[in-house]
């Protein structure tokens, strides 16, 4: 890191962010990160304006005509809503709609495409599901991403399993393989690392009296035993210290992992969620590492697949602004962003697959008890930048990988969109991630709203400067996306708390989906809740079906 980068990430991270956002052009940048005048790009946001208008009681024109009757209406076209649609379609239903406010489906899994390649705007991989997650394997098989081998075991398609070299870390002035800065580790660090691994392995192999694992996907199948849920009272940092892991390097590494999956620092993340990250993927500690599944578009590839499959049902640019549950049917008022007109649907059942906080504004009759529960959901903000490059900056050491992380940076580094295409030369797109880990999420959102494209471009260039001093020469465009409510935050107490369980109870004929109901923002959890809500609907309508999610 160059001398203008704050040396101690522990004490300086908030200061840095503040100065980065509020005073990006002032001397803290040391004059070396000024935004170059010729660089172009766009500042993008999911419909901030409309979201805020709905929050503030937006009243569009009176709906025209009689309400359109459908069996099921799905509010939200992210992974949860699309998965719900996938489940309904598998049960033979056709008379349903998925309404998405944005002009494209996908939520935080959405992606974009240039002449060169598709690239993600958010979630960009799925760890290979374990054999118990049959429903997800089924979806991935339909996509051609996994297949069952003659011996019955599941394997990843070679085009989708992340290509080697997978991960590298820039530390001590050079790139090395993997994400742990092993070459900086002392013997004590190594000893503590073994301790950390042993503790994680203990949790992987742990089973309760009924044989349930402590951590697995979906969260619903994790053991409710006190020995496990107790961990939710601690922060991950506290837990590390308790097991005798005080090493700065390991704390950095775990902090990186927490920020990567939850957008929270190691001292903000619940220990339950922190251990979940390391222990939920494997069923046995002796199991081989499973591959990561990824696509140039990131999880946008899943969105594209489901969107094509659900094309007759999916409508984008449709902002639901009012849900009114009645005796037998729910009336849903929708504002069409294209035609700027309002219309209504009348649905037997509704799946609410938007973030839970939106229920506060869209369902006025929601009980006060439910509202209190929903208010406990906290969401972190993210910035994602896509860097379009005319070529690869020359470098030595470990080669450009899929995931490229910078030691002690506040960003999460970048993933390379063209990696999975097998491209090793020439133009590419890098997707850079930055979680805002402020103590009070609303403050982060305020700063985010006031920040400019220039602020973020300067920060991106500064962040990558030590590793890629001549990056600027290859940059043709930087687009920046501000995500205000990117991820639900698993702070201590939330995953095992009452609020989360309350928020998923159906309200009349409205059923709730969304990854936030797990307390963790994971594709697998969004998928699971989509299926769960869809099966609640199938049961309510009286359709015969075999559950895809029952154990």
């Amino acid at each position: 890191m160059s001398e203008c980068w704050p040396g101690d990430w522990r004490t300086n991270r908030r200061e840095l962010l503040q100065s980065a956002l509020l005073a990006a052009t002032t001397p803290w940048l040391c004059g070396c990160g000024e935004s170059p005048p010729s660089l172009k790009g766009e500042m993008l946001s999911p419909s901030f304006d409309l979201g805020h208008r709905i929050r503030d009681g937006f009243r569009p024109p009176t709906p025209e005509g009689t309400p359109k009757e459908v069996d099921v209406l799905i509010v939200g076209g992210g992974i949860a809503g699309l998965s719900a649609g996938w489940r309904l379609k598998r049960a033979g239903m056709e008379n349903f709609r998925i309404l998405e406010m944005e002009h494209v489906a996908g939520g935080t899994s959405r992606s974009d495409r240039s002449d060169l390649t598709a690239y993600p705007w958010g979630a960009h991989y799925v760890p290979f599901p374990n054999e118990q997650n049959r429903a997800l394997l089924q979806l991935l098989e339909e996509m051609g991403a996994v297949s069952q081998r003659p011996d019955g075991r599941w394997g990843a398609a070679e085009s989708v399993a992340c290509r080697t070299p997978q991960e590298r870390l820039f530390a001590g002035g050079r790139w090395g393989e993997g994400l742990f800065p092993a070459h900086l580790a002392t013997q004590e660090d190594a000893r503590q690392w073994e301790r950390f691994e042993a503790e994680i392995n203990r949790w992987i192999d742990w089973r309760d009296a009924e044989g349930r694992p402590a951590f697995t996907i979906p969260v619903d199948r994790c053991s409710p035993a006190a020995e496990v849920t107790r961990l939710d009272a601690l922060t991950m940092a506290e837990w590390l210290n308790r097991i005798g892991v005080t090493s700065n390097l390991i704390h950095w590494y775990v902090d990186y992992c927490c920020r990567d999956d939850y957008g929270l620092n190691v001292d903000q993340t619940s220990a339950w969620a922190g251990i979940f990250y390391f222990a939920s993927r494997k069923t046995k500690s002796t199991e081989e590492e499973l591959p990561i599944l990824t696509w140039p578009a990131g999880n946008g590839a899943i969105v594209d697949f489901l969107s094509a499959l659900l094309a007759p049902q999916l409508e984008t640019g449709q902002a639901v602004f009012h849900l009114r549950p009645g005796e037998t049917r729910t009336t849903v008022a929708v504002f069409d962003l294209q035609t700027q007109t309002a219309k209504e649907f009348s649905a037997k059942q509704v799946i609410f697959a938007a973030p839970q906080f939106m229920a506060l504004f869209l369902i006025p009759t929601l009980s006060e008890e439910r509202r209190a529960a929903t208010r406990e959901f906290q969401y972190g903000s993210w910035v994602v930048a896509n860097l379009h490059l005319s070529g690869r900056p020359p470098e030595s050491d470990y080669p450009l990988s899929w995931d490229n992380v910078l030691f002690e940076s506040l960003s999460l580094g970048y993933v390379v969109a063209t990696h999975q295409l097998g491209s090793d030369f020439g133009p590419t797109v890098w997707t850079w991630y930055y979680p805002l880990c402020d103590e009070i999420p609303a403050e982060a959102r305020k700063k985010l709203l006031n920040s400019t494209w220039e602020d973020w471009t300067a920060l991106v260039l500064k962040d990558l400067d030590a590793a890629h001093p001549d990056l600027r020469k290859y940059l043709t465009k930087i687009d920046v996306m501000r995500w205000g409510h990117a991820m639900v935050q698993p702070r201590p107490g939330f995953v095992t708390g009452e609020a989360r369980m309350q928020a998923r109870q159906p309200f009349g004929s409205i059923h709730f989906a969304g990854t936030d109901l797990s307390g963790l923002a994971l594709m697998e959890e969004a998928f699971y809740h989509g299926l769960r809500a869809a099966e609640e609907v199938l049961a309510a309508i009286g359709t015969e079906f075999r559950s895809m999610i029952a154990t």
């Binding site: 070679e158 399993a161 290509r163 080697t164 070299p165 097998g422 090793d424 030369f425």
Partner: protein, 507 residues
């Protein structure tokens, strides 16, 4: 001053002239080596150097006092600049973008300082010697020095010492001459000047000597070892560094420092690579060559008159254009890439294969060894499966597979990977003196026997193969037996690990 020191001063002129020309030759050679295009580089270096001599001579008139001291200072300056020039330029080449500015600037600076030397010396001596005699002797020794340098440089210095050591040694020599000058010109120097000059001379000598001791590290850094053979072409592309060297046996192509072939025995490698695929029961008409941008595999394919189309896919346009335009290589390849039946495509084969729809009846796979992930991906089940979709049912392919003796696990990993991708595979090998025993694979979509007969027409054009030798290639000797190896997949690239481990034992 008496006669003896005067004669020694002429020796001084000789040394100065030799050193000066050596620095010029070093700069020219280095520029040709690093930047390629030796005609341009030598012209520019000579031109800049000569004009700088003139600038130095002109500047000398501004030195009015303390001629002796100034002369020795200049000599020490030349010693330091010239002595460090080669190592400095080698190191700078990798580190900066404005290398040419630095190179020509340095040549100009050295030239200017050398240009100052003779006028100063002549002015020092003019009061002690008859002017006619002075001019004649100084210039005579100057030109003898130049002759000495131009003979020593190519015959002794570069082959024996290399560029970096030559540079440092002549720097030291130059500084010694400067130190010696403080003795010869003692009467013209004050005591204070004398101490300062001798101190500085010792410092320069020490510095250059230290660098000389460290020269091994510098040399390996600069890949200069390859200069033991003379470099006849060098260029860098965005993909690799291309270097062609020449020695008595022939010329050699290096890509990123790895030897690709030696013109002396490449026919053995290429005949063994190509003919087992081409000598098939049915005529081969549509041939794909992957890698092989040197055009040598294509030369072998073109021996078959029934071939209608050859598609060559090589990453680097500089490599394929070198094969067409660089005379020794164009001749060695019989101008194969200029044949109308040949289509050259410069693209990463991994990307290209995904964009194809036509089918080939023969494929010659001649990629570099799998030493990096970006090459290792071209030896994966994924790539081989894609390749299989581009083949006719009776297609035959041959693949270069590194050495089965040096890197047995790498070799068998490639064969296992081909099998995992659905090919029927036969191992074979050939002796290539430059490489040792080299390994190949013969692969088909349906079970097929390797060829046993070669067309006499073709044999008559081959230097190595005939029907018996071809059969012999497929016989497995005792020391090339199957070893266990995993299948190389994109998400493990196990082959690159095998390869690194096995070849590192030989370095």
């Amino acid at each position: 001053m008496n006669r003896a020191p005067l004669f020694l001063l002429y020796l001084n002129v000789l040394a100065v002239a030799t050193c000066g020309l050596i620095y010029e030759l070093l700069a020219g050679t280095l520029a040709s080596y690093l930047l390629g295009d030796s005609v341009t580089q030598f012209s520019l270096v000579i031109g800049i150097y000569l004009s700088a001599l003139g600038v130095g001579a002109w500047l000398s008139k501004f030195v009015e006092r303390k001629l002796a001291r100034c002369f020795i200072e200049v000599e020490l300056g030349v010693a330091l600049l010239g002595g460090t020039s080669a190592p400095f330029l080698f190191l700078a080449f990798g580190a900066i973008d404005w290398f040419q500015v630095l190179l020509y600037g340095l040549v100009f600076l050295i030239g200017t300082l050398v240009g100052l030397e003779l006028p100063l010396l002549m002015r020092i001596l003019k009061d002690h010697v008859d002017f006619n005699d002075l001019v004649s002797r100084v210039l005579t020794f100057d030109y003898i020095g130049a002759l000495l340098a131009s003979i020593l440089f190519p015959t002794l210095l570069v082959p024996q010492l290399g560029l970096i050591r030559t540079s440092l040694i002549f720097g030291i020599l130059n500084a010694l001459v400067g130190l010696w000058g403080t003795f010869l010109l003692r009467p013209l120097l004050t005591d204070r000047e004398l101490g300062g000059l001798r101190g500085r001379a010792t410092l320069v000598i020490g510095l250059l000597a230290a660098a000389f001791i460290k020269a091994d590290d510098l040399t390996s850094y600069a890949e200069e070892s390859q200069l033991s053979a003379s470099i006849i072409h060098a260029e860098s592309s965005p993909y690799q560094r291309i270097l062609i060297t020449q020695n008595k046996t022939g010329f050699q192509l290096f890509l990123n420092g790895h030897l690709q072939f030696n013109s002396f025995d490449e026919y053995r490698y290429h005949e063994a690579l190509v003919h087992p695929a081409m000598a098939a029961p049915t005529p081969r008409r549509n041939v794909l060559v992957l890698g092989g941008g040197d055009g040598l595999a294509v030369r072998e394919i073109l021996r078959y008159p029934e071939v209608e189309q050859i598609t060559l896919v090589d990453l680097d346009p500089k490599m394929t254009s070198l094969a067409k335009r660089f005379p020794p290589l164009a001749e060695l390849s019989d101008h194969s890439l200029d044949d109308p039946r040949v289509t050259v495509i410069n693209q990463d084969a991994f990307i290209w294969i995904d964009q194809q729809s036509n089918k080939f009846d023969t494929v010659i796979v001649d990629f570099p060894d799998p030493g990096t992930f970006s090459v290792g991906k071209l030896y994966s089940t994924f790539f081989y499966r894609k390749l299989q979709q581009r083949l006719t049912d009776d297609a035959r392919i041959t693949i270069q597979c590194t050495s089965p003796l040096v890197a047995p696990q790498s070799y068998w990993c490639i064969l296992r990977t081909l099998e995992a991708a659905g090919f029927h595979v036969q191992p074979y090998h050939a002796a290539v003196p430059t490489f040792g025993i080299w390994g190949y694979a013969f692969a088909t979509r349906v079970p097929a026997d390797p060829p046993t007969e070669m067309d006499p027409e073709i044999v008559s054009q081959c230097r190595f193969l005939n029907s018996e030798i071809m059969q012999g290639l497929f016989e497995a000797p005792g020391d090339i037996q199957t070893v266990d190896a995993e299948v190389n997949q994109l998400n493990n690239q196990i082959l690159v690990q095998y390869y690194e481990r096995e070849w590192s034992r030989w370095e």
